[in-house]
């Protein structure tokens, strides 16, 4: 029962590590930015599932904070790359 | 170059010290828990909060929070002063 959730979290963390490879390799700055964005999305998905594993209902608030705020840093990076800052 | 070697040696010694110190703690079994157990047992009725972090932050250790919010205030005032001077066009010259 619980094992499926844990397996999902393990897969998501492995995917985070794989996305870090693009952060290392990425020839240009936008490549690194989208790698960071991918890690963001995966972290949110992992947080929601870990909330179920711990049986803590109130933990999911952290995931909402991430979902609302994680793109602010992406926007700052995009503004700098686009030469508007 | 000699400076670098000295620096790295001291850093290695420091990290070895920290490593030994970290290995003497055991993860998952804290030793001194009297104060925290007191907070967990009586915090709920003494402060009326369900979230014990908030009760510790604002009630039991309120003075810490007072000091920290003062530090925050001072940092923001510092940033404001720096850029106000910069905007007023003052030159940063040596005396």
């Amino acid at each position: 029962m619980i094992d499926a959730w844990i397996l999902t979290v393990i897969c998501l963390t492995v995917l985070m590590v794989l996305a870090t490879v693009r952060l290392v390799l990425g020839p240009t700055a936008p490549d690194r930015a989208i790698a960071l964005d991918t890690v963001n999305t995966l972290v949110i998905a992992a947080m929601v599932i870990i909330g179920v594993i711990f049986k803590e209902i109130i933990f999911v608030d952290v995931a909402i904070v991430y979902g609302l705020l994680s793109f602010v840093s992406t926007l700052y990076i995009a503004k700098y790359i686009g030469g508007e800052l | 170059m000699k400076k670098m070697i000295v620096l790295f040696t001291s850093l290695l010694i420091l990290s070895a010290f920290l490593g030994v110190m970290a290995l003497t703690f055991t993860f998952g079994a804290p030793k001194m828990t009297d104060m925290d157990d007191y907070f967990l047992r009586f915090g709920q009725e003494q402060t009326g909060t369900n979230n014990q972090c908030t009760s510790v932050t604002f009630d039991f250790r309120g003075f810490d929070t007072l000091g920290e919010s003062t530090v925050l205030f001072c940092a923001v005032i510092g940033v404001a002063l720096i850029f106000r001077k910069m905007q007023a066009g003052e030159e940063y010259e040596d005396e």
């Binding site: 700052y76 | 009725e45 402060t47 009326g48 369900n50 009760s55 929070t65 850029f83």
Partner: protein
Amino acid sequence: MSRIVRTAADIIYPFILIFGLYVVAHGHLTPGGGFQGGAVIATGGALVIVAYSYAEVREWLSKNVLMGQEVIGLVGFIGVALIAFAFGQVFFFNYLNASGSLFGIPVPYGINAGELNTGGFVPLMNFSVGCEVWGGLTLVILYMLSGLEKEGC
């Protein structure tokens, strides 16, 4: 930034604001509190600042109002703690707890569902600290942007 980002910032800013206020108001029940909620709202302000240019934002977000918020937050924090002297108690004594008035319903011991109207003066402190963090961190971003060389960014 382009018009799409500006529209998105306009739409999402009220939601960030109400979510931050929710985090502040429920600081004594769920994870959250003054520091976290204030940081959430300040990040919402940073979102508006990045979507528009500094010249436009300067008129909507007044620096004096933000500075006033910060001062009010700090003074309110100390003031709420000082009122304990009026009750003949020590500094930082939770005089409102279990008094039956505002935020004064006694809490059942152990694991329970939680009720917003509890906590004594902790919610008041949450609100003042949230006010301070909100003003301070938004002010930091605004001032740092004003220090950039280029105009019209």
